[in-house]
């Protein structure tokens, strides 16, 4: 077998031979393209852990959907959206009306939400269902799921484009948007958190809510070591994410690994390699002894 044949068998054949792999790839590409810019904004706003908190927060809604309607995509997506948005809104309100910082408010609400989710799941789900909800399964991506994922991811991308300027201005100087009497603080934060919830819920069928966090956070971390402007980082994060979902899917196919962890581990390894060796601000660059004259 020639090298080309081997490459074909490794990278192309699974897509040609299996419709579920094609659907999984399209779903993951949609999640990757929306997740990369969203995650970049989370990170520059120092909210990296919010994705994780919200991923736990959506669980009771997904579980409630499951309890009421079984493995119905619509019920679980709707429940997840309601639970995630509720936690986001409660946390933002608590931050604005009490001396609690946002991270503290989130920590409190998400763990309560997660516990509620586990309690509900214990009434209904089998362990297999639970694993699918948390970590996803590409086999679950039927046409309806694919349209849901692509639709929600596209909506996130459009909404993000419309609110990007406000989010970036506020990340630099939170008071700038306030001037003129209207206090904007909580609003844009809420928009960003809401978009994160939508993407997490979109991702649960393909890679699971927890593993969607990987698509949100890891590509921007990789990008940090490849570009030094915001635009550059978003572009690099998208490229890293696309490569990551492709290799992850192929690894998961050939080695029979769950898709979410396969993608996430590949991206994590890339992030570590980038931090050590990347062209911008990496350990390698910082250790260099030479310096410029000015």
């Amino acid at each position: 077998m020639s090298v080309l044949d081997a490459l074909y068998a490794l990278l192309i054949a699974p897509l040609v031979d299996f419709a579920f792999m094609r659907r999984a790839l399209v779903a993951c590409v949609a999640l990757a393209l929306a997740g990369a810019p969203l995650g970049t904004l989370l990170i520059v706003r120092r909210m990296s852990l919010m994705g994780d908190a919200l991923a736990h927060a959506v669980l009771p809604g997904v579980a409630m959907g499951h309890l009421l309607a079984g493995m119905s995509a619509f019920a679980m997506v709707t429940g997840g959206l309601i639970a995630g948005l509720t936690v986001a809104v409660l946390s933002v309100v608590a931050t604005r009306t009490t001396p609690l910082r946002e991270d503290a408010a989130f920590a409190g609400f998400y763990i309560a939400s997660l516990s509620l989710g586990i309690a509900i799941l214990s009434m209904s789900a089998t362990t297999t269902d639970l694993v699918h909800i948390l970590f996803g399964t590409v086999l679950a991506v039927d046409d309806v799921a694919l349209l849901t994922i692509a639709g929600l991811a596209s909506a996130v991308l459009v909404a993000l484009a419309l609110s990007a300027r406000a989010l970036i201005i506020e990340a630099f100087d939170p008071a700038l948007l306030d001037v003129g009497g209207v206090r904007s603080g909580g609003v844009w934060n809420g928009v960003l958190l809401g978009l994160v919830v939508v993407l997490l819920v979109a991702g649960y069928q393909a890679v699971g809510t927890l593993m969607t966090v990987g698509l949100l956070i890891l590509p921007p971390l990789i990008a940090r070591f490849w570009a030094d402007t915001l635009e550059g980082q978003v572009a690099a994060a998208m490229i890293a994410s696309l490569l990551g979902v492709y290799t992850g899917l192929m690894m998961s196919f050939h080695w029979n690994l769950p898709t979410g962890p396969a993608i996430t581990l590949g991206l994590a390894a890339t992030a570590i390699a980038s931090a050590l060796l990347g062209p911008v601000s990496s350990v390698r660059v910082r250790r260099r002894q030479r310096h410029r004259v000015a």
Partner: protein, 248 residues
């Protein structure tokens, strides 16, 4: 720069701003006449930053009202409130001053870019457009933020400790920008600590210590007796203080 009408006065009517029931500003009344240049001076905890934030609308008074002649207000917060690690260019940061005119979606026009470059040149950062904000020194950052203020084209300019940790040359360059705003009859209010600087460059002074200690011409306000009175204000709030019975 337009000569002509004085712009952007601010009136305080019995303003109290409290945190957890303890007043940072207590029943303050008075007026920043439009077109005036005023230094706000007082010990730590006197409510100087609180006053600026109440004027901007970032804090809501627990009682009383703040009335501004114009809603075109530019506010420079203390440096610690800004995120200087954000991966944006100096031009991006300066153009943020235009957001109210451009809104949240319209792209910057050629004239906005030209104004940004002109403002940067004015504050001594000509040619810095493409540099990263994170690469600037503390003084250069403050110069860039003054360029941003210039782009807002505001009637009222509020500066919170604009020269803290800034070297002498940068301070005098930026003071010149403040003088230009004053010359174009905008209202400028600056929180400052350097009394010599206040005496030399600011015609009016508001000395605060939660309440107004003295407000007027700088030389009559910054007397030893007034400063001693302001210093005697306790920085700590009294947990068991009686409730204020003035009308809420």
């Amino acid at each position: 720069m337009t000569k002509g009408h004085a712009l952007g006065g601010v009136r305080l009517n019995n303003v109290t701003v409290a945190f957890d029931g303890h007043p940072a500003l207590h029943h303050i009344s008075g007026r920043f006449q439009s077109g005036t240049l005023t230094a706000v001076v007082g010990p730590n905890g006197a409510g100087k930053s609180t006053l600026l934030r109440a004027i901007v609308g970032d804090l809501t008074p627990s009682s009383g009202t703040v009335t501004t002649d114009s809603d075109r207000i530019a506010y420079l917060p203390q440096a610690s409130r800004l995120n200087h690690d954000l991966p944006i260019t100096v031009a991006d940061a300066v153009l943020m001053g235009r957001w109210r005119r451009l809104g949240l979606h319209q792209a910057a026009r050629q004239e906005d870019l030209a104004d940004a470059s002109a403002a940067l040149a004015e504050v001594g950062l000509g040619g810095f457009e493409r540099r990263a904000v994170s690469s600037l020194s503390v003084g250069q950052r403050q110069r860039a933020l003054f360029a941003r203020l210039m782009l807002t084209d505001a009637d009222t300019v509020l500066l919170d400790e604009p020269f803290a940790a800034i070297d002498q040359r940068t301070t005098s360059d930026l003071l010149r920008v403040v003088q230009q705003w004053h010359a174009s009859r905008r209202t400028v209010i600056a929180v400052l600590h350097d009394l010599d600087q206040v005496r030399s460059a600011f015609p009016l002074t508001l000395l605060v210590a939660r309440t107004v200690v003295e407000w007027g011409a700088t030389e009559t306000v910054l007397t030893a007796a007034n400063l001693a009175r302001a210093r005697s204000m306790s920085e700590a709030s009294d947990t068991h203080a009686d409730w204020c019975r003035d009308a809420a």
